[in-house]
Amino acid sequence: MSVSSNEKRNALLSVRQVAKSFTMHLRDGVVLPVVNDVNFELFAGECVVLGGPSGVGKSSILRMVYGNYAIDSGEILIRQNPFGEPRDLGAGDPRLVLDLRRDCIGYVSQFLRAVPRVSALDIVAEPLVSRGVDRTVAAEKAAGLLRRLHLPEALFDLPPATFSGGEKQRVNIARGFITDHPILLLDEPTASLDAGNRDVVISMIREKLDAGTAILGIFHDQPVRDAVATRTIDVSAFSARRAA
Amino acid sequence: MTLPEYNFAYLDEQTKRMIRRAILKGIAIPGYQVPFASREMPMPYGWGTGGVQVTAAILGPDDVLKVIDQGADDTTNAVSIRAFFAKTANVATTTKTADATVIQTRHRIPEAPLSAGQVIVYQVPIPEPLRFLEPRETETRVMHGLEEYGLIHVKLYEDIAQHGHIATTYAYPVKVEDRYVMDPSPIPKFDNPKMNGSPALQLFGAGREKRIYALPPFTNVVSLDFEDHPFEVQKFKQPCALCNATGVYLDEVVTDDRGGRMYVCSDTDHCETRREEGHHGAGLPISGAQTAKEDAA
């Protein structure tokens, strides 16, 4: 892989020879390969888009990088900054994964996992609070993000369980963007947004990139992809199911 | 002299030795409940079978015995137990606190201060102060062993929460020599301070529950409380109606069916002694007039 312009700087994320399959014990142990020999790097300030047809393993790669999926082999090396020591998230030590999630990797999933009775504002502020930021400061920042995403103020203090899909998604985005994790994983963040909010998200992504955040994302939305992508990786190249 | 029908003081010598060993152990570990092999006595539980066994074990031929029940020498219980020992041990009995060498009591400590050489024997119905909140004997024993006494304050807390003050008025728990929490038997809390540093030997016997415990002379006995709700004894608004005594524990006596009542010393010996000394209470008319009045009525 070419590293010409980044020669002196280390990648924040290095995925090396990663393979992943599922063994379905409830289906007589049938093995479903997902990806093989995944290799790529992600540097500060770039937005790498995982491309390829549906079912090729894009979301699986995001989940492996976030530690939701265990990998069969290979390494997923994470650095907190370009000069930091790499730590192997792929080894699967739960405490390391938790540390890396707290310090290095943010994640905006497709769906918000709503917690009963916790307000939208608190859900957004929580990643900051858990990193020791003062509650009021975190809440102010959360409110700012939600306002920017045009979430009606009346909803701030309500639990998002009853929100519409787009409203939930905006809460989810705000929660993912509130921290300054060096690596940010985006799984179709704009899927259920209208054009206006989509543009807000695009500018938020650009601001993250300007600040040096490394972004790895899946965007089915062509205009968003064109607006933010600095590089595209075709996941089909890694797909273990190409033959299928 | 004919052969006595009973061994001296009713119990056989082996039993008395067993009880004395328990008493000695109790004296050695003030406030600790020593199990003993309580015997059947020729009276029902609740009549003071524990106290009677302790008294029987310590009584000698030269002792002078006083027995009180609620402070009175002349109630059924006191009279019966006194008669029991007069018959089985042939010991001298008295109602005078100062003359007694052994005082068996139910529910009171005499008003006259006890002196060195005297022994006071308490009749105890329930020796376990923690039972109200922890019914398991195995658990309360461990709690005593490990000095886990938070629970006893839970009871006092409940008192204050419900009544605004510590409403426990009798069997008020005490801590002995900063170690064991002890139930002082159902004496009024008014009497609790008398246990502290008393020159007399204090023995406690629980017959049904088969426990003996003791306070050797000059033992430190502290009534439990809260910093902001300190222990205090009952105070009476008026002196004894008969002997005009203040600072003593008074009983309420209903005098008629129209709400008339008077407050008199619960310790009958104390009251009588004071009257003999010439003290007169407001409820006690001049003797001549009183007779005339009663005749008229």
Binding site: G67, R95 | L146, I160, E227, D228
Partner: protein, 257 residues
Amino acid sequence: MSSPILSVSNLERRYGDFIGCTDISFDVWPGEVVAIVGESGSGKTTLLNCISGRLERSSGSIRYNMRDGRFPDLADLSEAERRFLMRTDWGFVHQNPADGLRMRVSAGANVGERLMAIGDRHYGEIRDTATEWLGRVEIAGDRIDDKPVAFSGGMRQRLQIARNLVTRPRLIFMDEPTGGLDVSVQARVLDLLRGLVSDLGLAVVIVTHDLAVARLLSQRMIVMKSGRIVETGLTDRVLDDPHHPYTQLLVASILES
């Protein structure tokens, strides 16, 4: 945070020939919630009772990191020390609140008991602290003198939680804390627990058969079957990518919501 707060190694508990749990090793770190999941009879409650000192183990070691820096096996502590731990540094939340409460004394005394046990002797302060904790578990202050028998199941469970947390313990054991509650009440208790656990930085070992409870509260998960650990890992990893056949069966059995 450089060492675990609780370290279990090669733990076994037998009932005669029957295995309650065996070959159990895991660590719990400060501030971490570990869920032990499995169906009835999988040995999870036996395990919980062993590591919380409520049940004797047959073999193995259970070490606890004391506040004074010692890291002894629980078996090497005196009974006094062990019991002191249990009512100060530890908490135990029972499935049935009646097992963890004194049903015949007031809510305030239930919460205050641990304070009195460690020597608090100021009624007013004990009451203030009890009121504060009732508030934290969303029980109105004017219920402080009511007895738990007058409380609903959810309130009792919240009272039990307050009673456990008042001494600011570092490690809490929970046995199906929402198991006996209506679903609507469950959510409230769970959310409350979740908030308190993160606010107080508690380490928690929670036994549950409800994977949704585990997902909501825990960072790490231990899956048990027939007395043995069959899978461990990050909670969302175990639930999103279960490896052991039994875990896959458990996850596949969750109703989609």
